[in-house]
Symmetry: C2
Subunit: 308 residues, 2 copies
């Protein structure tokens, strides 16, 4: 694990502002970092690699937002388990042509979000090369007191619910989204969840992940799905519903819980973030969607099947 000293001088002013988790016992500067959290809980680990030209382009997105997103996607994965993010290590490959401002802004995006979620940066590995920009962050967190919420826990009769709204995140939200850590923890604490995932592949595709891991089916209510206003201002040839189901990178929570607890949640939501019931889990393993005209058609990963 190596971060050149001069690079850390560059970002020293940012790091000074960073809060450090007391569980991080040795940070940047040795062969590894050392950490130890609560002895009674398990740890969570996740990693995501962002690639220039695949996940972002430099002419369309600022270095700040690229840095922010590289951490945010990992925080969202920890949120999807109802966990708490704690420490991160950052590996970066930078094109030799990038200047100090680019690097500073990239790190500012990472450190500001780390600060907001009280995540300590424990170390990393920085390189320069002739290739495009690559950022990989590995995030370690801690389980919820009640344990983690897995994809595999959905039960027949569960309500299927979401936070927030969906569709056309490419308009900007794919970089500026707020990972739902607080909401996930409050939901699991106050109510108890059966299964959960964060929506990265798309509302429909990620529902399929839950259904497959839980070996159940579902019926969605098309008119109930919360469509983001970004969709409404969009000139896409796809319908609003198709965009909400298929676009992805909304980084909202998609979860299931007992019908009884679902009703409780709607009656007294524990936070202001929008909560919507979008369907129910069924014992039959099919995935279906009830369209606004009351016709029931198969749900597909990218939308639904148009029956003749």
């Amino acid at each position: 694990m190596t971060i050149p000293r001069n690079e850390f001088e560059l970002i020293e002013s940012i790091r000074e502002k960073a809060k450090f988790h007391p569980g991080l016992q040795l940070g940047i500067g040795d062969d590894t970092a050392i950490f130890g959290f609560s002895r009674n809980k398990n740890s969570l680990i996740t990693c995501d690699m962002l690639l220039e030209g695949v996940h972002f382009t430099l002419d369309q997105t600022s270095a700040y937002l690229i840095g922010r997103k590289s951490l945010a996607v990992n925080i969202s994965d920890i949120a999807a388990m109802a966990g708490t993010p704690l420490i991160a290590v950052i590996s970066i490959a930078l094109p030799k042509t990038r200047n100090d401002t680019f690097v500073k802004e990239l790190y500012r995006g990472i450190f500001e979000l780390a600060d907001e979620f009280e995540i300590s940066i424990a170390g990393g590995d920085t390189n320069t090369w002739d290739g495009p920009t690559v950022i990989n962050i590995t995030l370690v967190g801690q389980e919820h007191d009640k344990g983690s919420v897995l994809r595999s826990g959905a039960q027949s009769g569960d309500w299927i619910m979401t936070t927030g709204s969906f569709g056309n995140s490419i308009a900007g939200r794919q970089f500026t989204f707020q990972p739902r850590v607080k909401e996930a923890k409050l939901l699991h604490e106050a109510i108890g969840l059966h299964s959960m995932i964060d929506v990265s592949d798309g509302l429909s595709a990620d529902l399929f992940h839950i259904l497959e891991e839980s070996k159940v089916g579902a019926i969605l209510e098309a008119s109930a799905i919360s469509i983001h206003e970004d969709v409404k201002s969009n000139n896409s040839s796809k319908s609003h519903l198709e965009q909400a189901l298929g676009d992805g990178e909304d980084f909202e929570l998609l979860f299931t819980l007992s019908a009884k607890n679902g009703k409780k949640l709607i009656e007294s939501p524990p936070f202001e973030t929008k909560l919507t019931k979008i369907g129910e889990v069924t014992e039959s393993p099919e995935a279906l969607i009830k369209m606004p005209d009351d016709k029931i058609v198969p749900l597909l990963r990218q939308g639904w099947e148009h029956l003749s």
Copy 2:
């Protein structure tokens, strides 16, 4: 954290052979992995990113050895703390032109070494793109019962010692080296170490890391340094000693311990891997080297100062 299901079908035959650490409670297939080790020890974390064209070229090195090295460099960092490696997450960016055999061989290199060191692969993120091959591995381990051996613990009067031999690792050892986990643990357990680092930047450069972190100096004995036979079969314009001090990527241990314990170690080494005393730590913050002609000259990061 996402590994496409078809990729895991590809490497299923390898994975089936992999041993899984009982501390890994949930592996590949959810938003994060879940792990929990001994409650009484701290954890270690390190990451390293290998880049095509910087750390390896595909015409000179097999996919198997590239995969192996991407894990081995991380294991070596855990060894340098006298820790035990336990679980890893793997992020990969693959050129779209790479075929299944390349990917299989890359993973075989990782999984075989993971198996040897009883490391569980907890998850990862795989991508394809138009850029060169990128592999990032983050490795989590556990501290030694006696705590970790840091770079900052060297004391005046300590013996400076190494495992193995040095120089011209580019002949092949930079890919095939054996991380010194067993040796580091035995040394710390049987004897007790003051400071340690694994030699990646170079014997001299890495000694400087210990000296700077420990705020001490050193005097090396040039004739004592263990020069690898790869150096002797080399046509380099550099002297054998220069190669041993400056080449790097030997991934041997460089450590300091009390003179008393150093003598004990030489008298009854706890393993067969070569152990050599190469110098002593001094209170004066200078780094010096006594040359074969008995002249004492300043040690430099890449060798020594040729005084007129």
